[in-house]
């Protein structure tokens, strides 16, 4: 009914999906599986008309179609429920459900009575008794999901695309959602969805497609997979030869974390980090990795627990405290909390360590520019000059500027949150080499990454976070991606 034909997509020269062809059938639940960044969301968004394909096409009822906007796709009967829901919180459930297709009376006014009757009817079809006059903001995430699905039903959707619909749901809510999905399947709707939760896939999916690095690995009936074979398909790439060997031996303990807790994000996190050690922090999205390391830097202080650096207990209320203590961090969100886009490469580079180049309150321009000159060389930053605006650089070069910014503060502990996300392979290799050099120089590195090969190849030790708790400590040379994923998957 809906067919992806050799779909390809690249963002900023970076290929995220290549030659993917899948058929979706009515009355079937089709799961898209793959690691973070495998291309699942991108594929869905192309089917839903959010992105236009760079190559290949989408065929709908046997005809090639080109959706220019999500509304195009919706009018043809293809609806998408996004990972981040987009309700209008102050409108009622009914108004949200029938947004843009409200029943009107002879004067063109919205007929409130009819609106709520119709809305309830759609919700009934999903076996849900929700008061349609309640404001949307009073609903739980699961209830909002159901409203979103009903919204798709009301628009006569024949295909329902759902990106991680259960990521934020409790077990009880998942059951309710599955009931709704089963109803849809019986009505002949094609349901396509992504998830990280293994058990769900086997409970719900009829067929499974596995994506890896933007390519389709296989499409098979769910019955033909076992949990282990599915994971193997998801991660099964060979380790690229771009990782420098880990040759250093960690020294004495520099950082000791005890019982770090901030509900509901994480609880009772305890670990140590040694001089020259590269410690990997693995886990799925939403497991609390970013929250934990943000607490160590002072970005989002923990509610309780102690953090000691070289035996000294730290009070981390803001990054100012973290930097003063000898911690530095490159955040995962390069645009949001990394670069200052309007400022130059030089000004971005020296921002965190500016005090070093100052006499009193005045910036020493000579010292600043000679440091910039040295750093652009050391980190192989490709820019037309120190005055170039940073937002004109490629993602990889921006990332190198941010790494240089953190390292100019000469930290004892460097926290890297997804340091290679969205950058090309060349810049990745440079960052891997840099991590090796830092370790050799005695800097302790805490590496958060969703790319398991990185974690496995660069680190001395791996911690796995599951739903805000440490679930395992593994030795990278004695484990594999399957084992990490098993400890990372929510139970």
């Amino acid at each position: 009914m809906l067919r992806a034909c050799q779909l390809s997509k690249a963002f900023g020269g970076l290929s995220v999906l290549q030659d993917v062809s899948i058929d979706f059938h009515p009355g079937e639940v089709h799961a898209l599986m793959g690691e973070n960044g495998a291309g699942k969301s991108t594929l869905m968004k192309m089917l839903a008309g959010v992105y236009a394909p760079d190559g290949g096409s989408v065929a709908w009822r046997g005809q090639p179609v080109r959706f220019r906007t999500p509304n195009d796709a919706l009018s043809q009967g293809i609806a998408m429920v996004h990972q981040e829901l987009m309700p209008i919180p102050d409108l009622s459930v009914g108004e949200n459900l029938l947004l843009g297709m409200e029943p009107t009376n002879a004067f063109g006014w919205v007929d409130q009575a009819a609106l709520h009757t119709q809305a309830s009817a759609w919700l009934q079809q999903l076996d849900t008794d929700l008061d349609t006059r309640r404001p949307m903001r009073s609903l739980s995430v699961a209830q909002m999901q159901v409203v979103e699905i009903a919204k798709a039903l009301a628009r006569q959707a024949d295909v329902l695309l759902m990106d991680e619909p259960t990521a934020a749901l409790s077990d009880h809510e998942v059951t309710a959602l599955f009931k709704a999905i089963t109803t849809l399947r019986q009505r002949g709707v094609a349901v396509v969805y992504t998830t990280h939760k293994m058990d769900e896939v086997f409970r719900l999916a009829d067929r499974i497609s596995v994506l890896r690095d933007g390519r389709l690995v296989c499409t098979q009936a769910a019955l033909e997979f076992s949990a282990d074979s599915l994971i193997a398909h998801m991660v099964g790439r060979e380790l690229a030869q771009i990782f420098p060997p880990v040759t250093t031996t960690p020294g004495e303990t520099v950082l000791a974390v005890e019982q770090l807790t901030r509900e509901p994000a994480y609880r009772n996190i305890s670990f140590t980090l040694r001089r020259g050690e590269v410690l990997g922090l693995a886990g799925l999205m939403g497991a609390g990795r970013t929250e934990v390391v943000s607490a160590l830097y002072g970005l989002q202080p923990a509610a309780s627990g102690t953090i000691r650096l070289r035996g000294q207990t730290l009070e981390l209320r803001s990054p100012i405290d973290g930097l003063a203590a000898g911690l530095a961090m490159v955040t995962e969100d390069r645009k949001g909390s990394g670069i200052v886009p309007a400022m130059s490469v030089q000004h971005n580079l020296t921002l965190a360590a500016l005090r070093q180049f100052c006499r009193g309150a005045v910036i020493d321009a000579t010292a600043e520019s000679s440091t910039t000159h040295k750093a652009t060389g050391d980190f192989a930053i490709k820019a037309s000059g120190p005055g170039q605006a940073i937002n004109q650089l490629s993602g990889g070069n921006q990332q190198k500027v941010l790494l240089a910014r953190a390292l100019l503060t000469a930290p004892a502990v460097l926290i890297l949150d997804e340091p290679t996300r969205g950058i090309d392979i060349g810049a990745k290799a440079e960052i891997y080499a840099l991590i090796g050099r830092l370790s050799a120089q005695g800097t302790a590195v805490l590496l958060v990454s969703s790319e398991l090969p990185e974690i496995l190849s660069l680190t001395h030790r791996i911690l796995v976070l599951r739903q805000g708790e440490l679930s395992a400590e593994l030795a990278p040379r004695q484990t594999n991606q399957e084992e990490i994923l098993r400890h990372a998957m929510p139970r």
Binding site: P319, G336, L354
Partner: protein, 316 residues
């Protein structure tokens, strides 16, 4: 700053050259169209007229750079002028007392704005809108609703000349030069750009965002106080109804000068050019005896037009 040929700097340069060119064209036209424009007495007059708006515009540049806004300038000018005048009766206090009272009044209003924005987490627009009414009310209360007259000649002398140069112009020039140095050379100046350019990134890089904002609002208030003192000296009274809509002229000058209302981009030099442009246009329209009704319309069109041109340039 190292010598570079970066596109970002080029754009800034182009922008400034653009304003300078417009300024010259308008000045040239006025010299031809009127006999009186290009005379020493008129140009001194222009300088005197732009000084107050200039001081305010430089002050509010700091706030706009952080991505904020200050709508209370005009009212705080009036309040500072009244406060200054109350302490400026002949023979009561030495000259520095009324001056300091005026400056501190403005500075306190600015600090209060800053505290409410940073600690209170209230939008700058709302905070300074509130301050706009409160300061106006206080000015009326302290003055009893009447102009505070009987000011000592020492203070009103501040509106006079030092040799051939008007003292208000000296104040404006000093404020502009010091601010320019501050933004370019001082760590806190750099932090101001960082906070306005990306607040989250600035915080993550160890910049104290509240401190920077507090400083910007406080300094803007202090300079507003200075403008209030200069205005009181010029009109020889503390006028509680003075300064109406001064904030609009000041913000217009800053924006014409290339400062982004969303923060992080802008310069004192641009602001000075914007102030001169508005000043010359005002003066020219007066000399051409354009009715003040039409003046308002023309000024509005020029402000929007200048910014529109700027954005078009930015996109290309």
């Amino acid at each position: 700053m190292t010598a570079t040929t970066s596109p970002a700097l080029d754009r800034n340069l182009l922008h400034r050259l653009g304003i300078v060119a417009v300024l010259f064209v308008i000045a040239g036209l006025l010299s031809v169209l009127t006999d009186s424009f290009a005379t020493a007495s008129n140009l001194t007059n222009v300088a005197r007229q732009v000084s107050i708006n200039g001081i305010l515009a430089v002050g509010v540049t700091f706030v706009l750079l952080t991505g904020g806004v200050d709508l209370s300038l005009g009212s705080v000018v009036a309040l500072s002028g009244v406060a200054c005048a109350l302490f400026a009766h002949p023979g009561e206090y030495p000259l520095f007392v009324p001056i300091c009272v005026g400056l501190l009044t403005g500075g306190l209003c600015g600090l209060l704005n800053g505290v409410l924005v940073t600690r209170g987490g209230i939008a700058p627009f709302i905070v300074t809108l509130g301050m706009m009414t409160v300061a106006r009310g206080l000015a009326l209360i302290f003055s009893g609703g009447k102009p505070v007259a009987d000011m000592s000649p020492d203070l009103t002398g501040l509106a006079g000349d030092l040799g051939p140069v008007p003292i208000p112009l000296i104040c404006f020039a000093a404020v502009a030069v010091l601010s320019w140095l501050f933004l370019g050379r001082f760590r806190l100046g750099r932090h101001l750009y960082a906070v306005g350019g990306n607040e989250q990134a600035a915080r993550a890089a160890g910049v104290s965002v509240p401190k920077v904002k507090l400083f910007a609002y406080g300094l803007c208030g202090l300079l507003t106080g200075l403008a209030g003192v200069v205005l009181a000296a010029r009109i020889t009274t503390g006028q509680p109804n003075a300064g109406q809509a001064y904030e609009l002229d000041a913000i217009a000058a800053v924006v014409i000068g290339g400062t982004s209302l969303s923060g992080g981009v802008g310069s004192v030099l641009g602001t000075v050019l914007g102030v001169l442009l508005i000043g010359v246009i005002n003066n020219g329209l007066d000399l051409l005896s354009v009715s003040s009704y039409y003046q308002a319309v023309i000024k509005g069109i020029i402000i929007v037009g200048a910014v529109w041109l700027d954005r078009r340039q930015a996109r290309s």
